[in-house]
Amino acid sequence: MSARSDVRTAASSPPSGAPPASPPASAPSRDEPWLFRTYSGHSSARASNALYRSNLAKGQTGLSVAFDLPTQTGYDSDHPLARGEVGKVGVPICHIDDMAALFDGIPLEQMNTSMTINATAAWLLALYVATAERQGGDPRKLRGTTQNDIIKEYLSRGTFVFPPEASMRLTSEIVGYTVDRVPSWNPINICSYHLQEAGATPVQEIAFSMANAISLLDHLRNSGRFSEGSLAKVFGRISFFLNAGIRFVEEMCKCRAMTALWEELGRERYGITDAKMLRLRYGVQVNSLGLTEAQPENNIVRIALEALGVTLSRRARARSLQLPAWNEALGLPRPWDQQLSLRTQQILAFETDLLEYEDLFDGSRVVERRTRELIVAAREELDRILAMGGAVAAVENAYMKQKLVESHTARLRAIESGAMTVVGVNAYPESVESPLLQPGSSSILKVDESAERAQIESLRAFRSRRNETDVRAALRGLEDAIQAGQNVMPPSIAAAKAGVTTGEWTDVLRRVFGEYRAPTGVGAASAGGASDVDARVRGRVDALSQRLGRRLKLLVGKPGLDGHSNGAEQIAVKARDAGMEVVYDGIRLTPEEIVQSARDEGVHVVGLSILSGSHGVLVRDVVERMRGAGLVDIPVVVGGIIPPEDAESLLAAGVRRVYTPKDFDLARIMDEIVDVVAEANRAA
């Protein structure tokens, strides 16, 4: 099939080649399809630009930029905390030349770009606007989304930087700026996506994200910045980012429930009457939590069914859709894997008759009843949170976090016990060898380890060619404006043009606002029903503790910038239930800090969790530093998205066990931690 290079017209018609460019005259009229996106970006701005161009040529109609963790948390690529993380989970963007390279040959005026960026959203938007202007574009015509939802960062994703109050201020200033100056931009994308990834039930997903939206809207209304008329415009610009799991009928009802609740909220709480403004607009990335490492080709089917869930009902259809790759649980997807996900969307939109009908479910008693039930339960949960003082209060008192940890724990228990069927994992595990996973051939994308070095070199070259006087003046202007309570966007755009870097911009804000550490939610998460397995493992923990002279003590550490703490938290809770004393330090630790904790706390074993793909550098660093500190008898185990070749090299480097997403049986992991500690203390 010939690929189209014209970025714009690929948007809404099927690609040229086999299917006709427009339906035959006799065919019924079709709805416009949603935007096709793929969440992508890696290694460098240049490499990501090539990927974007090739995706657009294949019929992708919007871009979804993945930034690397240093960019998301406001560090330049040469900062010590960035070590091993540069270009791993996304593209590194340190300054305007990086941004310009990322969109080289892609006219921003004509693109619709979603940027997964939160704490540093104002900065990346400033770079985007400055880049558009450099291309000769008009910022008023820019279309796209900054994710900019900080509350869910505290709850699950972990790339927050500033305290909640300062974060709310930044969010509302981005909203204030874009409503006037970049009117087609979606300044915030309230995410229930990450809540589901953290274990949320549909009811929690609805209630927590609505509570989140309310806290933002109340903040905006009370800021006095918006007149009644412009508040309606603001309401209309708020979009959502949803998740969709494999229970696709319920997921479809969830989308309908949210659509109804959002309209009700707009009318009743904010007095909005314009039907267009009241319409819930949302994009979707379907579930990654349910994708399996075992028999990974099954994920192709899961992803297609999940896509169906959010497109089936016309009245609650996603505006944009991005599908994960079938082999995501194994590592970074290759271009071919991403292409398969895009083709899945295209088949759904262009081959099937999905877009030819009115809503299929209006009048369905079953769908109506399930939707109603979700609305009622979500309203109840929402009222509970509002009574607590709203979403910010429910983050600070860890209520929402605890509920998520509990739901996630319940989900894992259900998989362990078999109450929830996962084909290929706890049912029908037998499989012939998959031709898609040839031993020896790499079935995932490897980020070139030299990318980090190249990025640091190019950053240093950029610093040496910019005008330092301009940079210092821009940073001073930024700080003064923030201190004076002025909108952060204009001085940020000026800073972008002057050559300020991501780390410098964030450092100014860190200085003014301070840094924040969110509650973990593990301390208070109730243990739930302990199974027989727990009792058996507890017995082994007790016996080993006796032999060691004191209770088995485990350090759970998350080195690097990856903030996905769900896995680490589940391990911590399970280990506590198994009778271990567990030190959990939270996220974003340097290898030095982890080694210091291991020594000071006198632990028997260290468990590291890394999902960003930076395990190679970070784990080795921890292991070497432990050796250097004389902690040779403390074994290290590692969990994360770790391909088999990497696992082997980690084991060779002295790591005792490596766990990947296929190891869902936490009781077995606990059992093995006991084994590992017993082996390391044979002499004891």
Binding site: D600, H604, A684
Partner: protein, 332 residues
């Protein structure tokens, strides 16, 4: 755990120098229940007994009062004053599983990452009141290594009394409107703390009311060291307000204890209570009574000023068990 490749005396010397690796190993050793290790631990603790020792300060208060945040601010401020800091944070254990989630290192934040702050979390284990038996020995180790040593526990009324025996200055972190005066009195916390810190003064009116009520309550009774009344301060740990004043108040309290001779008396009495309660825990109140009343116990402790409290516990324990065996032998 790593074999102690140094003799207890050598380890003690390195602990006194503030060698963090040695401190960590010493803490592991005093926590070890095996008999060979226990004997090494006693040698170590004896060697750590002669002064100088760092200040011992207790931090207590209800969950959510902001103890960890305050400790974080205190540690940073003390580091800025050039003093080394050791922290022992006690978290509850599950009674059912024996497991514990020790989250204080996380709650405290920045200062735990400072190489000049030594932080050890401790599970409360079987003790409901919040202090495990190993807490006293752990504090002995930390006080030999660092200028200022904190022990943090969740306040549940009774535990204030027991933590007071381990420390020279006890700071109670109060929450505005956490309870009115009656609640404080009911919890029995008014008589133990030396300093009250009403945290979160951003809730200004409430904080002022709480401070006033505390002061009024303290007028009614007296502090446990006789003539000195507790000090009531307010501030905000989160915003770093009132931290320097709190350190000054702790220093002033310590200076007064030193001048009046109360410091020596408190340390002596604390040793007696530690020995007494450890024996009561091992042999029950009934068993303790068989060892004699409090006076002879106090005389025994005073007669061995160079021995660590843990040594005295084991000596008296051995004596008790020998007597028990003798009595059994007589009966049979």
């Amino acid at each position: 755990m790593s074999a102690i490749d140094a003799t207890p005396r050598e380890l003690a010397r390195r602990v006194r120098e503030g060698d963090r690796g040695a401190v960590a190993r010493a803490l592991n050793l005093v926590d070890d229940r095996r008999s060979a290790q226990r004997s090494e631990a006693l040698d170590l603790l004896d060697a750590l007994e002669p002064p100088p020792h760092g200040r011992r300060i207790g931090i207590t208060g209800a969950p959510g009062a902001g103890k960890s945040t305050l400790l974080d601010a205190l540690a940073s401020a003390l580091r800025a004053r050039g003093r080394s800091v050791g922290i022992l944070a006690v978290d509850p254990s599950s009674r059912r599983t024996g497991g514990a989630l020790l989250g204080d290192r996380f709650r405290m934040g920045a200062s735990t990452r400072d190489a000049g702050v030594f932080f050890r979390s401790l599970a409360a284990r079987e003790e409901l009141g919040g202090l495990s038996e190993v807490a006293g020995a752990s504090l002995d180790v930390l006080a030999a290594a660092f200028d200022v040593v904190f022990i943090e526990t969740v306040g549940v009324g009774q535990s204030e009394a027991s933590i007071a025996d381990f420390v020279e200055t006890l700071v109670f972190v109060a929450q505005p409107a956490a309870g009115d005066l009656l609640q404080f009195m009911k919890a029995g916390i008014l008589e133990w703390p030396d300093v009250f810190f009403v945290n979160k003064s951003d809730l200004e009116a409430l904080a002022a009311r709480t401070a006033t009520e505390l002061r009024a309550g303290l007028e009614l009774g007296r502090g446990h060291d006789g003539d000195a009344r507790a000090v009531v301060l307010s501030g905000s740990a989160r915003d770093g307000i009132g931290i320097d004043a709190l350190i000054d108040a702790i220093d002033a309290h310590h200076a007064r204890l030193e001048q009046t001779g109360e410091l020596a008396r408190r340390r002596g009495a604390g040793r007696v209570v530690r020995v007494e309660s450890a024996l009561a825990r091992r042999y029950g109140r009934f068993g303790l009574a068989r060892l004699g009343e409090r006076e002879p116990l106090a005389r025994f402790v005073a007669a061995h000023p160079d021995a660590s409290a843990e040594r005295l516990i084991d000596m008296l324990g051995a004596r008790f068990e020998a007597g028990w065996d003798a009595a059994r032998a007589e009966r049979s």
